[in-house]
């Protein structure tokens, strides 16, 4: 997967490059709008991470120029979360946007979401270690043993299974499981994870559901 990052702030550009490279992306970097536009038009990228405020040519202008020729997915980064910027970005043809400061995980999740879009062939049975989740019959088995979950607990586990190995922030979980589309400041997700763990992890000795402090939760087999 080739990613183009157009970002003028050196520290931000650096950690984005390092982080995404470590995630297995092939990263190109442009430090101003003119270079960014040139690269975006000359080469093929699977996704472009585009800062809105750039020297030379701002992100919106780059996006407009790009959209005349190409449909490469674009994730805009904006420093202001005024609705104006958001609406503008999406109108100009951005596929998604993130407001600075954003969490790196969130960025990776969004990149995955916009590159995955349209080519998802989801299986109905998900497996993580000795955990088996059947999305059709809504049954959960661990080590062959049936686990009873509430509807929300099931939705939460299904989400973690579908995105296994991926760190999901509390905000993302609240949004995808409860449709709560905002930073909620509550510890609902923590408590829900705690309860889920009590049912599907603790009785079996080996943990599959891990907490990544300050970032979120990940479901994976670490054996």
């Amino acid at each position: 997967m080739k990613v183009l990052i157009v970002e003028d702030e050196a520290k931000t550009a650096d950690y984005l490059r390092q982080g995404l490279t470590e995630q297995g992306y092939n990263v190109e970097l442009a430090v101003d709008g003119i270079d960014g536009q040139h690269l975006a038009l000359q080469q093929h990228f699977d996704v472009i991470v585009l800062d809105a405020m750039l020297p030379g040519k701002d992100g919106f202008a780059v996006l407009r120029a790009l959209r005349e020729f190409k449909n490469t997915p674009v994730l805009m980064l904006t420093a202001r979360d005024g609705t104006q910027d958001r609406v503008k970005g999406l109108q100009e043809g951005a596929d998604d946007y993130l407001v600075k400061p954003f969490s790196f995980n969130e960025l990776v999740a969004r990149i995955q979401a916009i590159t995955r879009r349209g080519n998802v062939q989801e299986s109905t049975q998900l497996r993580v270690g000795d955990l088996l989740v059947d999305l059709i019959s809504r049954r959960v088995l661990r080590a062959g043993q049936r686990i009873d979950l509430t509807a929300k607990e099931f939705a939460l586990l299904a989400l973690l299974c579908r995105r296994q190995g991926e760190i999901l922030s509390k905000t993302v979980i609240a949004e995808l499981v409860w449709d709560m589309n905002f930073d909620s400041n509550t510890n609902v997700v923590e408590v829900a994870i705690k309860r889920l763990r009590a049912k599907m992890d603790q009785p079996f000795g080996v943990s599959l559901l891990h907490t990544i402090r300050g970032m979120g939760y990940v479901l994976e087999s670490r054996e």
Binding site: P101, M180, N181, F182, D183, S184, N185, V188, R213
Partner: protein, 472 residues
């Protein structure tokens, strides 16, 4: 600088005092012009009448003499009478004509007779360069004398001179009057406006360094007292906002200082020694938590700032508020369960809202209610509406909150109980209810809170449809 100040006062005058003076001048001009005109017309009439009377009385004198005189020597006596009656300046003139040459008298007699023949009433004549008004009368023949034509005239020059002098004098008086009234008007306006000048000077003296200073109202005339009172009230509100902002800045600084202190401190401690990977990971994770806290505070503050700048909710949809409450309660169900609380929703209303904002407000209200609810009780949500707004009131049973706290719970960083400062993340950063207030104002609504008899109710109102006037 000096020029600027002078210019400013000149501007002030040209706006009110000069305007008033000009207005007075125009009014005076109109009034004096009318008076002068009327006086002149009256004067002209009077002069005309006086002139006529003068001629008429002279004619009657002569006629009487000619009709009643006994012969002999009527012609001679008539001539003597005319000469006696003719004033020395010659402004009154007589002409006599008859078949009998004895009864002929006057200069330019033929011209006068020719010019007056066949005319009745006042006749205008120009003789010897003099303008004359005259009356002509034919006296029929009697036993004593033949038929005689009598013409009596007066020179109009003295009358014209009088009329002219009067005109000149009246116009001059009028002009002087106008000037006087304008000058007095300007002076009166300046004196009348003096309190305004004082007021503006007093206002100019108020600045950031003496915010507490107010205008002294008793010194102001009643018309300005109201303005002064409004101005003072505006200053009070600004002062309050200023103070709140100052306190707010303190609070923000304080709120940010704690996580920043932790970050700096623990990072420095970690860097003073060689540490293992695991230890470093611990540190970074701890740092991340603090940073997350900072991010959250900054995000909330930006949100509040946007609401302060008057941002309105967008992406509005008319939805059932009861459903929104249900959904949010469902989200927080686990927490209610942990706290041993139940939830009950009563009533419903349909309003145009931005769902994400509204749910965010509800989440914060629920959190507040949970914080004060006694375990095992029920949190009730009451939804009702009037003509313009929908009201969502969330009540919990528990210890009452004192009135002085209730009044301020929507303030930023305000905590009822300072010992609760170090609550778990669920307590937020003391911005929860401030955000509720912001959400309400973004929906053209308001917030309310009351606490009595073991029940605390906190809620928000939102306009049923946006574009409706603000309730409070």
């Amino acid at each position: 600088m000096c020029w600027k100040a002078v210019n400013r006062t000149a501007d002030f005058k040209s706006t009110i005092a000069l305007r008033l003076a000009l207005l007075f001048a125009v009014l005076a001009l109109i009034a004096f012009a009318l008076i002068t005109l009327v006086l002149n017309v009256v004067m002209a009439r009077e002069l005309q009448r006086h002139e006529y009377e003068q001629i008429e009385s002279r004619r009657q004198d002569m006629r009487y003499m000619l009709q009643h005189a006994r012969p002999p020597g009527i012609a001679l006596r008539a001539r003597e009478k005319i000469e006696a009656l003719t004033p020395t300046d010659g402004h009154a003139m007589y002409w006599l004509w008859s078949e009998d040459p004895d009864f002929r008298y006057g200069q330019e007699l033929t011209t006068v007779l020719g010019a007056t023949v066949g005319k009745a009433g006042m006749i205008e004549l120009d003789i010897d360069g003099r303008h004359i008004h005259a009356l002509r009368e034919e006296l029929v023949a009697s036993a004593a004398r033949p038929a005689v034509t009598l013409v009596v005239g007066v020179d109009t020059r003295p009358f014209a001179r009088t009329a002219h002098s009067f005109r000149v004098a009246s116009v001059l008086i009028a002009l002087i009057g106008v000037l006087l009234v304008s000058a007095l008007g300007y002076w009166v306006a300046r004196v009348g406006l003096a309190p305004l000048v004082r007021l503006s000077r007093a206002i100019r003296e108020i600045g950031p360094h003496n915010r507490a200073q107010r205008l002294t109202l008793p010194a102001l005339p009643s018309e300005l007292a109201q303005l002064g009172a409004s101005f003072n009230a505006a200053l009070d509100r600004l002062e309050l906002a200023y103070q709140q902002l100052a306190t707010f800045n303190d609070d923000v600084a304080h709120e940010l200082r704690t996580p920043l202190g932790n970050l700096i401190g623990q990072t420095q401690v970690a860097l003073t020694r060689e540490r293992g990977v695991e230890e470093m990971r611990e540190l970074l994770q701890s740092n991340l938590e603090e940073l997350e806290r900072l991010r959250q505070i900054v995000a909330d503050m930006l949100f509040l700032a946007r609401a302060d700048q008057g941002e309105r909710a967008s992406r509005l949809q008319a939805v059932s508020l009861a459903q929104e409450v249900q959904k949010t309660a469902e989200f927080m169900d686990i927490l209610f369960d942990e706290a041993g609380l139940t939830v009950q929703v009563q009533g419903d209303a349909v309003a145009s809202i931005e769902s994400a904002l509204f749910r965010r407000a509800l989440t914060n209200l629920f959190q507040n209610a949970m914080q004060y609810a006694r375990a095992g009780t029920c949190i009730t949500i009451d939804i009702r509406s009037d003509a313009t707004h929908a009201y969502v009131a969330i009540s919990n049973a528990g210890e009452a909150i004192a009135p002085e706290h209730i009044a301020r719970i929507f303030d930023r960083f305000y905590r009822v109980d300072s010992s609760r400062t170090h609550q778990p993340a669920s307590a937020g950063h003391g911005l929860g209810l401030a955000i509720v207030k912001a959400v309400a104002s973004m929906h053209q609504g308001s917030v309310f809170a009351r606490s009595e008899a073991g029940t605390t109710t906190v809620g928000l109102a939102v306009a049923l449809s946006q574009g409706v006037g603000l309730a409070s």
